[in-house]
């Protein structure tokens, strides 16, 4: 075994030791939510189905529900019905917008998914995965709520099902939609 092989093996082992040691002090269940209360990062990308460009700024002044999903994500399927229900309930509200962000996915797979499970709102393709990075997406599904001023007000990691869904609709979304309309800019 040459000197350089020895150095490499030792180096790898030591690096792992340091990594594991540091990792011990983190809580894997803790998910940082530093984004809440900050401006929602702007993004732009093609519509999954039509290819037309969509940018976040075109919805400024509205309450936006932003849902990150992927066709390979099992949990996303469990919340999909609820998302459609949510959209059906608020779609006539003038200030409500729902937007899907398709994450780390093949466009064909994403389209098939939408055909299979149904789609009533638009979905942006996160081509390079940069939108997910800007939003600090931990794993799909993940849902954000952005208020009329473009500030992120709520974030949920995991599927919107059961009590979470009720809480999301009643306690998070409704108050934001019912709050005083902001003055038109």
């Amino acid at each position: 075994m040459s000197r350089s092989t020895q150095v490499i093996i030792t180096g790898i082992l030591l690096a792992l030791l340091v990594l594991f040691y540091q990792g011990l002090w983190g809580d894997p269940k803790h998910i940082p939510t530093v984004l809440i209360g900050t401006s929602a990062p702007e993004f732009q990308g093609p519509d999954v189905e039509s290819g037309e460009l969509i940018s976040l700024s075109q919805f400024h002044g509205k309450v936006i529900v932003l849902n990150f999903w992927a066709s390979w994500c099992q949990e996303c399927k469990t919340e999909h019905e609820n998302l459609l229900r949510l959209h059906a309930r608020f779609r006539n509200h003038p200030d409500f917008v729902m937007l899907g962000v398709n994450y780390q996915d093949e466009p064909e797979a994403a389209r098939t998914y939408l055909r299979l499970y149904g789609s009533s709102f638009r979905h942006v393709r996160d081509i390079k995965g940069t939108v997910a990075i800007d939003y600090g997406v931990y794993g799909v599904p993940e849902t954000f709520v952005i208020d009329r001023e473009g500030i992120i007000r709520y974030k949920w990691v995991g599927p919107l099902v059961g009590e979470i869904f009720t809480h999301f609709t009643q306690q998070v979304l409704l108050p934001l939609l019912n709050s005083r309309q902001s003055t038109p800019t």
Binding site: L19, G26, K29, W72, T78, L116, Y138, G162
Partner: protein, 650 residues
């Protein structure tokens, strides 16, 4: 009282493991047989004491002694008997005890089995095994004892996690652990070879069956885990690249590489350092896997408590063992001048080398994917996950390459192959591969992965069948036997080779199952009321009723679905949304109908109070091939382990 006896037994075992280490060191220094015999007594007693410890814990569970903290947290008075025993390893403390108990059983067996034939190895074997046991026993006694009392005792326990109340889950941890600790035997022999400087082929020959046995256990454990995920977790898949799954998959990958590369050393006296490196890496990954799972530093579907103190201890211990092992390897390796000089890149040695590289690259891919989120979090403070797309993209090509090598390797001669012999061996398999692809194309299959997979599977399967056919015919002709008897005779003539080929066939069947059930899975999620129906591929599924049912320790909403093909009703499926009463944990129970070696898989993840059910239907074609292939692999390994002992042993 019984539990205190068990506790005391484990403490004595800890002391004896120190004695075992002392005896081993003294035995090496003084060359006095009495010390080594003392080591043997120590290791045998440890096994007896740990068996007593396990038995006392089982007793506490069976008598529902909730004054034992561990019993109170992992079982409940309504828990059925079968799962009550399984609950012994249903939590952190108990599973550690099981780990070290199995280790003591294996090392005792190894010491007694090889006592006469391998006297020089004994002190090392005893020393290394006792060191590993000491590490785990300290953890159990000082940091996570399953024997702690809880006074006053609660009236009832918290119950075993409902997801673990499944037959496959009962056997999954013991099999995995038997795989992990099984690799400790070849590891100890390798350490003995390194430390004693007896670096010949002997350690490999002696431990061949141990290696194969450990591999069998690990394989079974992993497959059972997949089986459990499939039937119990209710998402319709069996492998999700979860960090904890990966933790068991990494030692499997390197262990498989080791299993193959030892043959090169046996036949050609090459790869000496490499084999030592591989077994050290395999066992290190088993330990790292245990650390990753038990310290809870990775997020996963397996929910384990995080406790930095405990994790830190396991880390230091694991680092010590790995450090010693790699340190010894580096110091000794320079004495081993067996440079890998291949006579030709087209030779069996070369194929084995590629096999090893592929397996190691595969293991490295999984390792990186598993640790990447941890690295990002530690160094950048951000949270990311690595999903199936990464693994599928990187892993699939490697796996297909390995299957191709599987068809090539056994038929290429050692040293150097001539073009003529290559043509002779691979013309038919090559054609078989092409024909398989053409047939599938005609049947309408277009996926590039499926077709590539079809080629390599067709190629490898043809190579194996051709081999079986040729050699059976040869024996049948030579000894005037029927074809079947010729086959059996051929098998008996070289059981090691042919049992290996049976395992390879199992792998092929498994791969066909995996490819079909991943690429051609059909899936649909719908919400419906009683009386509604939906189409799942060509099957019509109708919800005819939703009612409440009650089990031993759970209540559930059960959906009754009728499955029609055309107008004929072919099945009635009853998926459930269960709530376990003790812990109030909901679970989704799938209902499955097997058809054409595949499954119609139905779950009902939600029922709203107004009677709207969310149903999820999945068709998994050829899923039964996954389990069947696993079974054939196991059969091959059993044939290998129980083959007659001949001159091959040293």
């Amino acid at each position: 009282m019984i539990i205190e006896i068990g506790h005391f037994a484990v403490i004595v075992a800890l002391v004896l493991s120190v004695l075992g280490i002392v005896a081993s060191v003294m035995g090496l220094r003084t060359r006095d047989g009495d010390w080594i015999r003392m080591g043997r007594i120590a290791i045998t007693l440890i096994f007896g004491l740990l068996a007593l410890g396990m038995a006392s814990l089982v007793y506490a569970f069976l008598t529902r002694d909730f004054s034992v903290y561990y019993v109170a947290t992992t079982s409940n008075s309504t828990l059925p008997l079968f799962y009550t025993i399984a609950a012994v390893w249903g939590g952190h403390e108990g599973s550690l005890l099981l780990w070290v108990f199995l280790l003591s059983a294996f090392s005792t067996l190894a010491v007694w089995l090889h006592w006469r034939t391998q006297p020089a190895i004994m002190p090392y074997l005893i020393g290394v095994e006792c060191l590993i046991m000491l590490g785990f026993l300290c953890l159990i006694v000082f940091l996570s004892s399953p024997f702690e009392r809880l006074i006053p005792a609660p009236p009832d326990g918290k119950d075993l996690n409902p997801l673990l109340q499944d037959p496959a889950m009962v056997m999954h941890p013991p099999m995995l652990y038997m795989g992990y600790v099984g690799f400790s035997i070849p590891f100890s022999f390798a350490m003995a070879a390194l430390l004693s400087g007896r670096l010949g082929e002997e350690w490999i020959k002696v431990t061949q069956r141990w290696t194969v046995f450990a591999w069998l256990c690990l394989t079974t454990g992993i497959l059972l885990g997949g089986y459990w995920a499939y039937y119990e977790l209710g998402w319709g898949g069996y492998w999700g690249w979860d960090p904890v799954e990966n933790a068991s998959f990494m030692p499997w990958l390197v262990g498989t590489a080791f299993l193959h590369s030892v043959m090169v050393q046996e036949k050609r006296k090459m790869f000496k350092v490499w084999n030592l490196f591989l077994i050290i890496l395999t066992f290190s990954l088993s330990l790292i896997g245990t650390f990753l799972v038990r310290s809870g530093i990775l997020t996963s579907v397996h929910t384990f408590a995080t406790d930095p103190g405990r994790g830190l201890y396991i880390l230091l211990f694991v680092a010590t063992v790995i450090g010693i092992a790699f340190g010894a390897l580096m110091l000794r390796a320079n004495q081993l001048k067996s440079p890998i000089v291949l006579d030709s890149m087209i030779s069996r040695e070369a194929i084995f080398l590629f096999n090893n590289l592929f397996f190691l690259v595969a293991a490295a891919t999984v390792f990186l994917g598993t640790l990447y989120p941890l690295m990002i979090e530690t160094w950048y403070g951000a949270k990311v996950t690595v999903g199936p797309p990464y693994y599928n993209a990187v892993f699939m090509p490697i796996a297909l390459g390995l299957i191709f090598l599987m068809g090539v390797g056994p038929y290429i001669p050692w040293r150097k192959a001539s073009m003529a012999s290559l043509k002779k061996s691979f013309l038919v398999p090559g054609l078989a591969g092409i024909v398989t692809v053409l047939v599938l194309v005609i049947l309408g299959i277009r996926s590039i992965y499926a077709l590539t997979g079809a080629f390599v599977v067709g190629f490898s399967a043809a190579a194996i069948f051709l081999d079986f056919g040729k050699v059976s015919a040869l024996y049948a002709r030579r000894e005037h036997l029927t074809y079947l008897k010729g086959f059996l005779k051929a098998f008996a003539s070289n059981p090691r080779r042919y049992s290996g080929l049976v395992t390879h066939l199992g792998v092929l069947v498994l791969v066909i199952g995996i490819i079909a059930s991943t690429i051609y899975q059909t899936e649909k999620v719908v919400s419906l009321r009683v009386g509604d129906e939906f189409y799942l591929d060509k099957y019509r599924v109708k919800l005819v009723d939703i009612h409440e049912v009650e089990g031993h320790n759970w209540v559930a909403k059960e959906g009754v679905f009728h499955v029609f093909l055309g107008n004929e009703r072919i099945a009635e499926l009853r998926p459930q949304k269960r709530v376990y009463t003790a812990s109030q944990t909901p679970t989704t129970e799938s209902a499955i109908y097997a058809i054409n070696m595949g499954h119609i898989f139905l779950t009902m993840p939600e029922v709203s109070p107004d009677g709207v059910a969310v149903a999820r239907g999945v068709i998994n074609p050829l899923i039964l091939w996954v389990w069947g292939g696993g079974g054939i692999m196991g059969l091959g390994v059993l044939l290998n382990i129980f083959r007659p002992r001949k001159h091959e042993e040293g």
